[in-house]
Amino acid sequence: MEKGFSIVALKGSRRWASLALLLLSVAFVCYGAWRGEVETVFSKAVKLCMECVGIG
């Protein structure tokens, strides 16, 4: 009985950890977008990445 309870409790805590991390991820994305990271990502991604292709 005690073992069964601990399994349920563990899985319940994992569920809450998942939920907390999902909320954290949304907060991170919003904060990153608010401070202008999206423009940095976009400006890098639409140009040829010299380092990636081995030009330097």
Binding site: L21, S25, V26, V29, G32, V41, F42, A45, E51, V53
Partner: protein, 302 residues
């Protein structure tokens, strides 16, 4: 007791097709291979889940590892909340399912491993090398671009520049074939990175997914969420007959009966297919909690 087959068995059986589709959806702009140009639309502001170079002519999104380094290496920021948030979100939903089903470079290594070789080699004795990818994630992806700035406050994307073979495979090779200007600009750095690509190709024929196991910082990041991801593998201990077939089948050297959310599990499902009593299944974390209170509804007693 023997359980009924998983409803996800069909998905796992068609994993190669899913990987091909994911690679195409990540790189749909195929005409750009002929023109030697890259896609420049708004989708490039978001990153894709797998390791996919944004200098690939067909790429529709940004590479998460390259984007993180671009933000960290810029003069304005020393950490990327935007990219970290996207990766945490994907990791919490899927964990390393991304590696097994959605990553183009993972699929590339899977295809290479199908090439016949006299004796495929085991990586079980090389398990300590697994930790190298975490060092690469911390040092090359974050610390060096954040700390080693030039006078203008800019830093190189060290992983992309000195390690990543995907940039050569998807970017340099097709672009240099299409453009004489790029071909003329390639030098020693290209030669070094091309050597890394050739090494990864050769190792992938002999070993299963050496880059994913030992090098990939994206796999290292997603592995941190395997234990809390919504998508989970579950082993029914009552149905399991301890035959060990799942552990022998796993090419990532994981024994799923000991840890069903192991950091190295890429959720490829080979164990699920190998289990003779269908004791392994895919579940969502919420459903797993509910089912633990009651008997298995799909359990069939002989």
């Amino acid at each position: 007791m023997k359980r009924s087959p998983s409803k996800f068995a069909g998905l796992i059986k068609r994993r190669g097709a899913v990987q091909a589709l994911a690679t195409f959806l990540t790189n749909p702009h195929l005409p750009n291979f002929l023109s030697g140009t890259i896609y420049t639309g708004q989708a490039k502001a978001a990153c894709v889940p797998g390791l996919n170079c944004y200098s690939c002519p067909a790429a529709t999104g940004a590479c998460p590892i390259g984007s993180f380094q671009a933000v960290v290496g810029s003069s304005k920021f020393s950490f990327s909340y935007y990219i970290t948030g996207i990766l945490i979100f994907i990791g919490v939903i899927l964990g390393r399912f991304v590696c097994g089903f959605l990553c183009p470079f993972g699929w590339f290594q899977d295809l290479l491993h199908k090439i016949p070789f006299p004796k495929k080699l085991s990586t079980k004795r090389l398990k300590p090398l697994r930790y190298v990818k975490y060092a690469i994630l911390i040092v090359m992806v974050w610390a060096l671009p954040a700390l080693l700035n030039n006078n203008a406050g800019l830093a190189s994307p060290y992983f992309c520049k000195y390690v990543c073979p995907q940039g050569i495979l998807e970017g340099a090779i097709p672009l240099s074939l299409a453009s004489s200007g790029i071909r003329a600009a390639l030098g020693k750095l290209f030669t070094m990175k091309f050597s890394i690509l050739v090494t990864v190709v050769l190792l992938s024929i002999m070993f299963y997914r050496p880059f994913c196991k030992w090098i990939c910082p994206l796999g290292a990041f997603y592995s941190l969420f395997n234990k809390v991801s919504v998508l989970q593998y579950h082993v029914d201990k009552e149905a399991c007959v301890s035959c060990g077939r799942c552990a022998r089948t796993c090419k990532m050297d994981v024994d799923i009966t000991k840890d069903s959310s192991h950091l190295e599990c890429i959720r490829c499902g080979e164990c699920l297919r190998a289990c003779p009593v269908h004791a392994i299944d895919i579940r969502l974390i919420e459903a797993e909690r509910k089912l633990s209170k009651a008997e298995e509804p799909s359990t069939q007693r002989p």
